[in-house]
């Protein structure tokens, strides 16, 4: 054994020193896309990272945001902040305020991110003026999926306003069928409510859901919105509790329900499950009463935390570069149903569906019309504590018939006031 020691030592030392000279990009990305098309999209990210000389590892936390955040918080407390984390909206600014995030300004300048990233994402990715995150996509939350079969059978047009929508549902209910497919959960109930408030009164949406203005929450407009939500619960079937959103999606696309309100990740899932756009389902914006293009935006992004190991710092740069590359934005978003966060990507090539192309066109239109908002339900506007408190009230309202719209509006305001 002994005689091997010296050469072994030398090799090791040589190995170590070459190692230190050329930092080898490494990363460990924490995210919540554990399975399905999203996991496949992340796998593409990993493959690209490895192909460009990096060492990739990932921790997938299975779609429960609280578990991802718990992991992040415990890693930060233990002094091992992860190199890259999927985080969004106000969380980016909250974590930036703790002073633990990395500064990507040099890379951003070199790559010219400021010129190509959709302007509405800039303030989210640069909460204190420095780039701390790389946006992966833009999701549209206010999609209304309709069952083509059901609409044809009933002779109903896709509703444009909430009044149309209610009329359509009344007719469908009359015929003994389910109008809205829904799986109750705090986030999905709130997704629906996002579209309701926004479609009924865009100013109310901005004041209540973007600025957390409690007076707006107590207003007559909010009471009307809750009344509309109550009506919609009546258009749902009995089985909403414990049903997943994928099951609701399938209900609509199989023609067992007329409508499904959900973000554009549905497009990816539906197409993966073999449903066809225009044949099994139609995609339109959720009803708006103010006659324009509506767009509720949600975006996924990767936030980079400060590292001391040069390998991981190198890895962060490489990862950010790949995420922002047009090639990755295409592959990732085709798989995820969303659209690229870069404005300079042509969606007519590369396999984007009609619904996705519609999403991009509507985004541009909504920016022009000044109607673009970010999603409260999907954690793009107010702090988590306000959002969590609001979601509790909304999901309770959906679950409990005995709560009146007036009570709900007051509870919403009370819950938010309690947290400030």
């Amino acid at each position: 054994m002994k005689r091997f020691n010296i050469p072994l030592c030398t090799t090791l030392m040589l190995g170590v020193s070459t190692f230190a000279l050329h930092a080898e990009p490494k990363t460990n990305m924490l995210h919540q896309w554990a399975q399905g098309s999203e996991a496949e999209a992340i796998a593409v990210l990993g493959e690209t990272f490895e192909a460009q000389g990096g060492t990739w590892s990932q921790t997938a936390m299975s779609g429960h945001t609280s578990a991802t955040l718990a992991k992040l918080r415990s890693d930060v407390v233990s002094g091992n902040a992860p190199a890259a984390v999927q985080l969004k909206g106000p969380e980016i600014s909250e974590w930036t305020a703790t002073g633990r995030t990395a500064n990507l300004d040099d890379l951003a300048t070199a790559e010219g991110w400021d010129d190509v990233v959709a302007p509405e994402l800039l303030s989210v990715m640069k909460p204190e003026g420095n780039w701390v995150a790389a946006p992966m996509n833009i999701h549209r939350v206010n999609w209304l999926y309709s069952s083509k079969k059901m609409l044809d059978d009933m002779g109903i047009e896709v509703p444009k306003t909430w009044a149309d929508f209610n009329a359509a549902c009344d007719a469908i209910k009359e015929a003994g069928k389910t109008c809205i497919a829904h799986g109750a959960a705090d986030w999905s109930d709130t997704t629906t409510f996002d579209s309701v408030v926004y479609g009924m009164d865009i100013d109310l949406y901005r004041r209540a859901f973007q600025e957390a203005d409690v007076d707006a929450m107590r207003s007559q407009g909010m009471i009307d919105a809750f009344a509309q939500l109550r009506k919609m619960v009546g258009y749902m079937d009995e089985g909403i509790n414990g049903r997943s959103w994928e099951q609701s999606m399938a209900m609509t696309m199989d023609g067992d329900a007329a409508f499904f309100l959900m973000g554009d990740w549905t497009v990816a899932s539906a197409n993966l499950a073999g449903y066809e756009e225009g044949v099994d389902y139609l995609c339109n914006q959720t009803p708006v009463d103010w006659g324009g293009t509506g767009y509720i935006l949600n975006a996924d992004s990767v936030v980079f935390f400060e590292q001391s190991d040069p390998d991981y710092i190198e890895g962060q740069e490489l990862l950010a570069k790949i995420i922002m590359s047009p090639e990755f934005q295409v592959t990732f978003n085709v798989a995820k149903g969303s659209i690229p966060s870069r404005t300079d990507v042509d969606l007519s090539v590369g396999g984007f569906t009609d619904c996705q192309q519609q999403s991009q066109a509507d985004l541009v239109a909504a920016v022009d019309e000044g109607t673009l908002v970010r999603s409260m339900a999907h954690n793009m506007t107010v702090l988590q504590k306000y959002r969590g408190a609001m979601m509790e009230v909304i999901t309770e309202f959906v679950a409990d018939d005995s709560i009146t719209p007036e009570e709900a509006a007051n509870q919403l305001a009370d819950a938010v006031e309690l947290q400030s």
């Binding site: 945001t65 609280s66 009995e238 509790n241 099951q247 702090l383 509790e392 309770e396 409990d400």
Partner: protein
Amino acid sequence: MSLPASSGGLGRWLGDHIAQIVLIPTLLASFAYVVLFSVWTFWLSVSTSTMLPDPTFSGFGEYAALWQSKRWTVSFSNLFVFGTFYVIGAMVVGTLLAILIDQRVKFEAVWRTIFLYPLAISFIVTGTVWRWIFHPQTGVELALHDMGWISAQFDWITDRDLALYVVVITAIWHASGFAMALILAGLRSVDGDIVKAAQIDGASVPRTYARVILPTIWPIFLAVAVVLLQFAIKTYDLVVALTQGGPGVATTVPAIVVFDLMFERGQIAQGSAAAVMILVALGIVLIPYALYMRWRKRQEGGDHG
């Protein structure tokens, strides 16, 4: 100990204190775990902590905010309702099963294993499977419909007044085998003469159990209750997998609120306040128990400590 040790000096000292010395590592760990972690949590609950722990003192405001939140008050009362029904229910079912098995049944080991196996199944899996069974569109109701009974209705899990009892039933399924195992073991240790005496007096079988056998093994019930209680307090995975706390907040339990506040919402101070309240609830139950045990020991004269 009062017995003389064999050698003198350091060796003698070591010999005398070996027990304490060996205990030290575990003790330090347990002390840190139980005391320091609790104190740390209490301190955070009165601090300004939000995203990350921050020791700056802020006051008891988070407790006030916590108690004004509907989700918390619902979850706290759920803990007492769930805990009571679960502990009593599991013990009643466990007792019944133990008595049945005690009737010199054939294949005793098979029966025992059937009732005990749920304890080996994780709460996550237990919750998931029972959700499949209870949900009207995947479980019993659908199966009954498929069999032709169209009007069959079995939708407790979607009913906000009944959903908590779905959690109770599922939890009883999980733990009653444990209660059975202990109680059965207790039944087997009862002195046959007492029972015979009761039989000669003409007591019926149920009466013999109720009046003679079960009262003699009451310490077992107490032990079972304590173990079940710690399951009840920690209940988290089961509810997450079974109902996600819904419909609405109807089946939320305190552990879920603690987790969400601390981790999802970045309100570490308020989440810590909620954790402290769980400890207080625990104290409400455990302190009388500890006092009772101490009193009982005094009654016995402390002869075997």
